[in-house]
């Protein structure tokens, strides 16, 4: 069944997986695929990519989804959650049991888990909370205490509220319209929970503005925070260079790193949230970093030095 030959060090595999179920979960869909090689290698926080539209599809880019759960049945299954909000995800939602899909994984850096039995707050926005439940199971195996804080715009877009209530010590829900839990956004409740739960570590997954706010609050309370980012990806395996964001390395240097292979999990304070979507002037290789020959020629700062880009032509000319 395996298409790709995995390297001995257990990297990702590309397989033709058989769809077990596609079911509606609140405002979302959950698809379960039989993919033993992926299930066996999976660690919480990692993701899978799927080709959509069939063999002669006009949609060339694989869709990436963080893994919600893996189970040992049928040799190993992988479940992920998605919103059917585009032609690719609608195609996925129309799959039925026994259909075959091209699925690759597990991809990306997983959530690091603490060595000691500490108290963890897991924060999720929308269906971004999907990867938090396998993480929660992993943390509880390590005798950590887990509190959940989940939010969305409206009640049916909160993913996994029931599971959170069942498996977490506490589960706090926020919705912007007040249809479920407290009215507001997750960060409105975070301070209070941190105080009451005596949180030692924070994990978060959801939209970028939420991750930015969660990181700011975590820093205020001086609590380590791990975030799983959602960036637009074309390949998911590290070759296309489209999913980059500015991240400060341990050496203090900002680099444009790929969220697919260097992430999707980062320490929150490493991400330069205010600069996401830009190339910070001090980033490694930014236009300020001109080659010596060009500096010597006195062309530094010339408009044309804006530089070539991947495709083809000078932009703006």
């Amino acid at each position: 069944m395996t298409v790709g030959t995995p390297e001995p060090e257990a990297g990702p595999v590309q397989v033709r997986g058989t769809v077990l179920t596609v079911r509606r979960v609140d405002a979302y869909y959950a698809m379960t695929v039989v993919a033993p090689g992926i299930a066996a290698r999976f660690k919480p926080g990692q993701f899978v990519t799927l080709a959509v539209g069939g063999p002669s599809t006009s949609m060339l880019l694989r869709r990436s989804f963080s893994v919600h759960d893996v189970r040992p049945d049928h040799g190993g299954t992988v479940e992920f959650v998605f919103a059917a909000d585009g032609p690719g995800t609608r195609w996925l939602a129309e799959r039925r049991s026994r259909d075959v899909v091209d699925i690759t994984g597990p991809l990306g850096r997983p959530f690091p888990v603490p060595r000691d039995p500490v108290t963890c707050l897991l924060v999720g926005g929308g269906y971004g909370s999907a990867p938090l439940f396998s993480l929660s199971a992993r943390l509880r195996e390590r005798r950590c205490t887990v509190d959940f804080l989940l939010g969305a715009s409206t009640g049916e877009k909160v993913f996994g509220a029931l599971t959170a209530r069942r498996t977490g010590r506490t589960a706090t829900i926020t919705t912007e319209d007040g249809s479920l839990g407290a009215r507001g956004i997750v960060t409105d409740m975070m301070g209070q929970i941190i105080h009451e739960a005596r949180t030692d570590a924070i994990y978060a997954c959801g939209p970028m503005p939420m991750l930015r706010q969660v990181t700011l609050l975590a820093r205020r309370y001086d609590i380590p925070v791990q975030v799983a980012v959602e960036e637009l990806m074309a390949c998911g395996v590290g070759v296309c260079m489209t999913c980059v964001l500015p991240v400060v390395g341990t050496d203090g240097i900002t680099r444009m790193v790929r969220s697919c292979v260097d992430g999707p999990v980062f320490r929150g304070e490493q991400v330069r949230w205010d600069d996401v979507g830009t190339i910070p002037f001090d980033a490694f290789g930014a236009p300020g970093w001109e080659p010596r020959s060009r500096r010597a020629a006195g062309l530094s700062g010339a408009p044309a030095a804006a530089g070539p880009h991947g495709g083809n032509q000078a932009n703006g000319h």
Partner: protein, 321 residues
């Protein structure tokens, strides 16, 4: 009967004519998780520049019908890191390395050619001339025969004699044959056809350009007919010049189409994003396509579409769909 897929690139003999396309395979390391990179013809690296480069802001990519737009901005670590880390890795895996180079000035290209010639193991240099010339108001080298020739001349002059130099041409020109002739006259050993086409798309929610870089390079099956046309025209004008064909190849049949138009080798690009194992699948499919047509050796079909049809019917026995 199995078809002999072996192909030549300069002095090197390749096991088959399927390469990766520059910018779609990094330096091979990531794809090695999915297939043995020594089993394809060669890995064409992402364009390397003299200095490290952060590239363009995001969004850098947009999906389009049967294609995609990209505006990466040649993000990369620069030639030093490439020679220290990426090239030795490729060689250690037994892969053949075709190194794509990019620069903002003729001197930068020349310097890159020197650096590559000083290191062992470079099978060929592919010169990405679809870059703005910082010394000429950002005019793209590939769009001007004189500028394209100046780069090729400088690279050929500095590259070691046994490293073939291929110029990668842009289809965004009025007369691609004129650019091809200029590059060959300047010493190019071969041509790579084609680079992406310049495109653009607008987000219907924000009603603004999707890409941060506004415009981007269009690739994928959507551009394959343009690639076939460019390869055909250049092969017609310069029948003895080796061509690496690329542009929307997704299957073995697509690769054969470019070969029939005149490509001696074929690079696979955007299809890799769709299917990380695409290169090896295409090698298998190409072999099947050729065997099905009773072709014994790959060179027998290179440029075959240019021959009168009675002749090709004689050669193409078997079930032609």
């Amino acid at each position: 009967m199995a078809t002999d897929l072996r192909a030549r690139l300069g002095q090197a003999e390749l096991p088959n004519p399927i390469l990766t396309a520059s910018g779609c395979a990094g330096s091979g390391r990531e794809l090695a998780q999915f297939f043995d990179v020594s089993k394809i013809g060669a890995v064409v690296t992402k364009s390397v520049m003299l200095a490290a480069r952060a590239g363009r802001p995001t969004p850098r990519m947009a999906e389009t019908p049967s294609g995609m737009l990209n505006s990466i901005g040649l993000q990369g670590p620069g030639i030093d890191a490439f020679l220290q880390r990426d090239l030795p890795w490729l060689l250690s895996r037994g892969a053949r390395a075709v190194v794509s180079i990019a620069g903002g000035t003729v001197d930068e290209y020349a310097e890159l050619a020197t650096r590559l010639s000083d290191s062992a193991g470079v099978t060929a240099i592919e010169v990405n001339i679809s870059c703005p010339n910082v010394e000429d108001r950002g005019q793209v080298f590939a769009c001007d025969a004189g500028a394209a020739a100046a780069v090729v001349d400088a690279v050929r002059g500095r590259a070691r004699y046994d490293i073939p130099v291929f110029a990668k041409l842009s289809p965004d020109v009025t007369d691609i044959v004129a650019i091809a002739r200029a590059c060959v006259a300047a010493g190019a050993d071969g041509l790579s056809l084609i680079n992406t086409l310049l495109g653009m798309t607008i987000d219907m929610d924000t009603m603004r350009p999707v890409l941060a870089g506004v415009t981007g390079g269009l690739s994928g099956p959507a551009i394959r007919p343009v690639a076939v046309r460019c390869i055909w025209q250049v092969r017609e004008a310069l029948p003895d010049v080796p061509i690496i064909g690329m542009g929307g190849v997704r299957t073995g049949q697509d690769a054969l189409e470019l070969i029939l138009a005149g490509a001696t080798l074929v690079s696979v690009g955007t299809a890799i994003f769709h299917d990380p194992s695409a290169c090896m699948r295409i090698v298998r499919e190409l072999e099947e396509e050729l065997a099905r047509r009773g072709v014994e050796r790959l060179p027998d079909v290179v440029g075959l579409a240019h021959e009168p049809s009675s002749n090709s019917r004689r050669r193409l026995t078997g079930n032609v769909s």
